[in-house]
Each structure stands twice: as C-alpha cells, then as structure tokens.
C-alpha cells in the first residue's frame, strides 16, 4: 500500500515537472535615447553578439549595447547602397550581402567597426522581374525566394518560389514551381529561407507552416515536413495578396498598402525563421487577445517536433547561442508607433 502511495506521488511530481512550460527570461536589456524606429527587417546576430539589419531611418545599422550606428548609408558611392531590399549574411563571418537594385547584390566586408564593398554581382532578370523576398548564400550560390514569373498568359502564370544564381549572376535553376491565377500573378507573399545545417536549407512561406528542406549542393528539394502548430494559429489565406479582389477602382496606393498591413496583422503570419543550437525557430502572430502578441515556436531541427511555445509581445530579430534578441513591443512597421527604443535579450527557462 505504501509503495502505491509513493508511486502515485512520484508520478504526480513527474507530471507537474513535465507540464511546466518553458518561458523566456530576460537576461539583458539595451535601452537607447533614440528617435523612434519606424521599421525593422532583415536582421541577424553578428559574431560579436550585435544586431545587424535594416532600421528604416538609419538604413543598414548595427545595434550594440552602446547604441545604434549606421554601417551602410544610402547613395551611389562604393560603400553605399541605392535602395536596400534584401540584406543577408555572406559567408560564415559578418560580411553582408545587400540587394539594392532590381538585379544587383553588393557584398560588404567587415572592416573594424564598419563595412566596405569591393564587389557586386548582377543577375539577369527579365521585365517580369523577380519579387525578391529573402536570400541565403550557400555552396557559392544565391538562393533567392519570391515570385519569379517563368511564363504567363491571360489565364494565369507559372512561377517559381526559389531562383538560384551563381556568383557570376547566371541563373542555375528554379525550384518550387506553382501556378497562379491571372489575379495572383504579382504575388507579394513572403518566403523565408535560412541555412539550417551544413548542407541543408530550410524554406517556409509566411502563410504555410510547412518546412521544405533543400540541398544547396544538388539544388533539389530533399523533403517537406508539415510543422505542428498550436491551436491559436489563424491561417493566412493562399490568395491573401490577390489585392484585385479587395480594391475598388480609384483606391490610392497608400490605401492598398494600409489594407495589406491590416490584413497582414490579422493572421498568424510567420515573421521570421531562425536556426540555433539544433533548433528551428520561427515567430508568428497569435491573433488571440488572451495571449501575448507573438508566439515563438521552437522545433527540434532533426525531428521537427515542437519542443517549446514561448509567448512575447516583443519582435524577434535574431537568435544566437540560446539567446533570443527582440525589439520591445513589436515591429513598429506593423504594430503601430513604438516610442521607446528598447532591445530585450531573453533566454529560454524551463
């Protein structure tokens, strides 16, 4: 009888421990007396544990515990960019690649506290143009995500979601082809891509929690894995960016952009994709008033099993060495005006 009691107590104790949810614990905070930041995108954590990315008023900037400093300015000079639309890591260090024109990728090398550019690549795109969303450099190739129209007619278009170029700007291959209706042909959907592990890329659309694994060497899809998602998930419709359905003749461009932003914040859009410590980490909106604004979903990068669901109001800008770097209170571009410029750094606590 006594042994049964001990067993029950042991089981209850084990259950209580296992059901204890992981949470984010703040380990550092960088607070700056700085003009409000208008928009943040394309961020990653450098080797020196600083944040590098696009901060609209600063252009391409580096955030350190001391402040926010512009590292690449706007202009036609050799160390400047014209209109940065994609910023990503080039190689294993802190060198940066910036796509700033319709078909140029400019490489910037880390030099002391700044960056200097010595080369750029021009890739060929026809008049349909490639709506570039994200890019990774792997196996000496650029993997650019975004709708690339291969052919089109009155009925619709055939597009590819990944376009691969070599360092000479030659298109090597397109991957993940699909058909779009005539209304959808200028699809603005975001597609995330990261270097997952050595010899493997992970691709995920903002509206579909399915990870596609790609071998950069063979340029082939290895497999597709649907991810487990929490119950709050509110799926973005596949024709989300089919704006022709939602606008009326005469609607201004500003109205359309505002409408897209409103719709974008109304669904569980996948904001970003990260890899750290054998975790595949993504952040999505909860769209649930009872919960915090965002959820960070942590998956095992081998099994793709959901290991942790972490809730926060902060916008994730990168993950490194188990530390989650966030901008406090959301992304100002989507979550309204945020006056305080505060970066919170968290660690996962079980």
């Amino acid at each position: 009888m006594k042994s049964i009691y001990i067993t029950v107590i042991f089981l209850l104790l084990a259950m209580s421990l296992s059901s204890q949810e992981a949470r984010l614990e703040r380990v550092d905070q960088w607070k700056f007396d700085h003009d409000p930041i208008v928009f943040i995108s394309d961020t990653f954590i450098s080797k020196n544990n600083t944040i590098i990315g696009y901060f609209r008023d600063e252009n391409i900037a580096e955030v350190t515990p001391k402040g926010i400093k512009q590292v690449i300015g706007i202009g036609e000079g050799p160390d400047q960019v014209i209109f940065p639309c994609l910023i990503f890591r080039y190689g294993d260090g802190d060198d940066i690649a910036v796509s700033d024109l319709a078909n140029r990728i400019k490489i910037f090398y880390r030099k002391d506290r700044g960056f200097t550019s010595k080369k750029s690549f021009w890739y060929k795109v026809d008049s349909f143009a490639l709506v570039a969303r994200e890019c990774v450099f792997s196996d000496n190739k650029f993997f650019i995500t975004g709708t690339n129209i291969i052919s089109q007619n009155k009925i619709g278009s055939k597009v590819a979601l990944i376009t691969i170029f070599n360092e000479k700007g030659k298109q090597l291959k397109v991957l993940l082809e699909k058909k779009l209706s005539a209304q959808q042909r200028y699809d603005l959907m975001y597609y995330h891509i990261i270097n997952l592990k050595k010899g493997l890329l992970a691709f995920i659309p903002e509206n579909e929690p399915t990870v596609t694994l790609i071998s950069p060497k063979s340029m082939e899809v290895v497999k597709q894995v649907p991810l487990t998602i929490p119950s709050f998930y509110k799926k973005m419709p596949g024709d989300f960016y089919t704006i022709k359905k939602k606008i009326k003749p005469g609607d201004s461009g500003a109205f359309i952009l505002q409408m897209l932003e409103t719709f974008r914040t109304g669904y569980s859009r996948i904001n970003n994709l990260n890899f750290d410590q054998n975790w595949l980490i993504l952040q999505m909106r909860t769209c649930d008033k009872k919960l915090k604004r965002y959820a960070i979903l942590v998956y095992n990068a081998d099994t793709f099993k959901l290991e942790h669901t972490l809730y926060t109001d902060d916008y994730l800008v990168g993950v490194k060495d188990g530390k989650f770097y966030c901008f406090a209170n959301g992304n100002p571009g989507w979550d309204g005006e945020i006056d305080d410029v505060v970066f919170n750094i968290y660690q996962l606590k079980k």
Binding site: R104, W122, D126, S127, G169
Partner: protein, 159 residues
Amino acid sequence: MKKKETIINIAIVIVVILIIVIVKVKFFSGGNPQAGYIQDMEKMTVLDLKGNAVKFTSLLSGDDETFVLILTVYDCHTCILKGHEQLKSLKKEGKQAIGLVVSDDVPDIALWAQNYESAAFYVIKKVDFYTHIRAQQLPVMFTIEDKKVTGSKAITTEP
C-alpha cells in the same frame, strides 16, 4: 493726335504678330520636344568596358544616323530593359546603336553589361556626363547625325 493713334495701331499690330509667331513656334512647330542635348561632342571621351579611352565621335556612323542610349544602372529597371530592346532592334535593322552608362566604376559596369551582351556598352564618367550632356531624365535615346543631335527621347514605362 492722329499721328499718336497711328503709332498705337502699329504697336498693336506688331504685338499681335509677335503673339502669333510665339504661339506658332511653341505649339504648332510640328517637331518633337527635345529630351536633352550633347555639347562639344568632339571633345567627349568615353571608356570601353576594359577601361580604354575612346573618342566618342569615333563610335558614330560616318554616313548614317547613330542611336545612343544614355543611362545609369540606377534607372528604373523596366526602362533599362526597354532601352536595351530598342538598341537590339536598331542593331537588327543595321543601324549603329550603342549604350553609354554614366559611372565611375568601369569593372562594375563590365559585370552589369554581361546581362546585356547583345548591345555594345561604353562608360561615360560622371564628370564628362555633367560637362557634355544635358538630359531631362535618364535613360534617354539620342539620335546623332553628322555629329549633331537630331533627336532625343526619354525612355519611360509609358507605351
């Protein structure tokens, strides 16, 4: 008194004639408005994609018109493609057609031009561009005949 009236009448006639001439020249001249011009063409030097200096006038056709597309790589992408298509079709027609890219970075333009192999591109340095060329906007296509600009048209996204 009569003399004064005559003078006023003559003045009115002169003013009316002037107005007619101005209106005719301005609105009914029949020619296309110029999108730019090139001055001191003889003194202009451009660079080939290896960085060698070339006299601009040596690139012009001796007995026929030459088409010169002037652009920067920062211009609207669709306009660049449109200008390139025009160069291609002019070349097909047997015309002399070249592109001049405004830049101080010749190696970068050489890389850029690899995507437009079917046209001959040269580089004009920024200082030379500002010294010799006036253009309302870029890209612009100049027509040159007998070392004189006979036409110029901005390349836009408009059909």
